[in-house]
Symmetry: C2
Subunit: 386 residues, 2 copies
């Protein structure tokens, strides 16, 4: 069987603009909109790839920055690439490292690239567009990302403009450096919260003709309203026939807002990161499983969830595992949270198919925020009484 | 389907005395000799019960001492018992807590029981034969253990004699306190390294007629030669038609010595504990996966192993996971180590069936210690040269 090359098919659009699509990659298809769980260092935290598969994951994300430091991309290449190294046969996307280096203390950015100190031996390391692409070529993911300069929030117009200019130069250099036709290289648009810069960045990327486009520079503390503004402005500028990816989001509410604005792909460490601290997503809102109220609770995390954890264990058992410091607690909660996010995008796809995305969104959020509203009500009552 | 009650069938004996048997319990059968993985707090460390099943585990061990403190056995009982609470449908054995309390600092032993400080709130807790059995009745394991006084190594004859007398009184009280006919209560023999005390203890237990007998007070630092002496002396005193259990062992070499002396059941935390520190068992000896030599090693942990880890991952990948501090490292190595021990007892059973246990033992140990011998040879050569 010869491997499929990268393709995107737009299967339909909901009346509100939410898109249903299909991405074809050499390692299988992805139905969009899709949430991509993150296995930064070629491993999901506290989950095996078998367990990840059981959650319905269609693609997993890894990170060029981390893998370049440990174990080194040339080693991964010698082992047949990321798919084989971490035993995941499905599609993989690697991030370029742009987002990671932007938050390193003492980093130095110039037109050539970013220089920073190695986290382990403090030696200076330079990450350039060429290095990032070489690393990603060696890792061998199905989708790889251009190396960009992600700026802090808030930033000045002047700095955002400079960073955008560099990002555009780097996008060109990434394209030239890219050596593998079996990997799809996506461009990343920057421009902070400035519409004219966003427009300029997107136009520049389209001129370079990438097989997919990401909106970067979000999830840096700008808040959901700013994110919505950027998406409102930027998404319509992107071509219909290419996948659109918002990097680093997010919470269920962020995902719904992004999908509504025509976004196809999202990724975030939230499901696994929250899980390890005992914060679990349910259809009626987040719960903290370590709370005393769950010590004696016979229900599964979410009665409407059919993950391994919800099928087999009570909240009381999970509360016990966290209290007893059992690693298994992190595993079972990660499985649940990841599946929660994948179930959400599955239901999103169904609703778009039925041209009912906004009804689904409204119903989902009403149930999801019910607890918060109850709490607010209770509080305001108390105030009135007091 | 009505549940099977506890039974032991001796299926055959090798010419050396190694025994092949079958234990029937309400939650399924156990082929003996068997190694029992330990899930102290109603959880295998870093493994799900699904993963445990995949290793070929037939029974899992939990601990009354730990579960009495957290989450409390009455809570587990309300949740339908240990099997349901931790989602393991196979046989379970709970230890009485005798071994755990004997090592607590500041414990006070009298004829009534053992008093110690609660690890979390420092309140005094008393564990008595009656409490231990009540806890174990509430937990609902298929096999439960008498509450005994395990003495330190080395000890005086006088103290071992006193502790034995208490253990025998406690064995009687355990039998009286035991309320569930669906659980088999095993007696535990004490007596340290003193033959006459061991004989007296075993005779006393046989008079009480337990469905199975354990040799306790081993694995307390006495060393393999002392353990062999105790087994050489004690095992022949035990009735043929009841299962024999040596508690808390051990390493592969300990297991082989115990089986050769007619032991049917063994348990230890070694596979999972070693795994979390990166010490992995292979047919050619132990390896430390964190060693630099494994950074670039394309082989699985053990080429003769068919566990999930060996089927999917290289030593280089496991080395990477430990270097990157990924929890997945502990999971994958635990799966391997547990399966290694279960494969060992599987091969032991086959060799007994073929009346070739000692040949198997010799061949296994020769391969297993090959590396050590090579090292020793290397060292002595150096000495000669030096």
């Amino acid at each position: 069987m010869s491997k499929q090359s990268f393709q995107f098919q737009l299967l339909g659009t909901d009346k509100c603009g939410a898109r249903l699509g299909k991405i074809t990659t050499p390692h299988g298809n992805i139905e969009t909109p899709i949430f991509m769980p993150v296995g930064t260092a070629a491993a999901m935290k506290a989950m095996t790839m078998e367990q990840l598969k059981s959650t319905g994951a269609q693609i997993v994300l890894s990170n060029a920055y981390h893998l370049n430091i440990q174990p080194g991309s040339e080693l991964v290449a010698r082992y047949g690439g990321l798919h084989k190294f971490m035993a995941w046969n499905g599609p993989i996307l690697t991030d370029s490292g742009g987002f990671q280096v932007f938050s390193l203390p003492g980093r130095k950015v110039d037109d050539q690239g970013v220089t920073f100190r190695h986290t382990k031996n403090s030696k200076p390391v330079q990450l350039t567009p060429e290095v990032s692409i070489q690393v990603q070529n060696e890792l061998g993911a199905d989708i790889i990302m251009a190396f960009d300069e992600c700026v802090e929030y808030p930033t000045t117009y002047q700095y955002a403009k400079e960073a955008l200019a560099r990002t555009m130069q780097w996008a060109k250099r990434c394209k030239s450096a890219h050596k593998r036709s079996d990997q799809a290289l996506f461009g990343i648009s920057q421009g902070a919260l400035f519409d004219d810069l966003r427009a300029e960045g997107i136009k520049g990327l389209i001129d370079l003709d990438f097989p997919g486009y990401a909106l970067g520079g979000l999830s840096v503390g700008e808040g959901i309203d700013n994110m919505k503004k950027v998406l409102d402005f930027s998404a319509p500028l992107l071509p219909d026939n290419k996948p659109r990816y918002v990097m680093g989001i997010g919470l269920p509410e962020d995902i719904l807002e992004a999908v509504e604005r025509g976004i196809d792909m999202m990724d975030c460490v939230i499901p696994t990161k929250y899980a390890r601290s005992g914060a679990l997503f349910t259809s009626v809102g987040k719960i903290r499983i370590t709370n005393r109220e769950f010590r004696n609770d016979k229900f599964p995390v979410d009665t409407s969830c059919d993950c391994y954890t919800c099928n087999n264990f009570t909240r009381a058992y999970l509360n016990h595992l966290f209290t007893a410091n059992e690693i298994l607690g992190a595993t079972l909660t990660s499985i649940h949270n990841v599946q929660f996010f994948l179930n959400l995008t599955k239901r999103i796809r169904k609703s778009i198919k039925n041209n009912q995305f906004q009804t689904f969104k409204k119903d989902f959020l009403e149930l999801y925020h019910r607890k918060d509203r109850k709490k607010t009500k209770g509080k305001s009552k108390k105030k009135q009484n007091g």
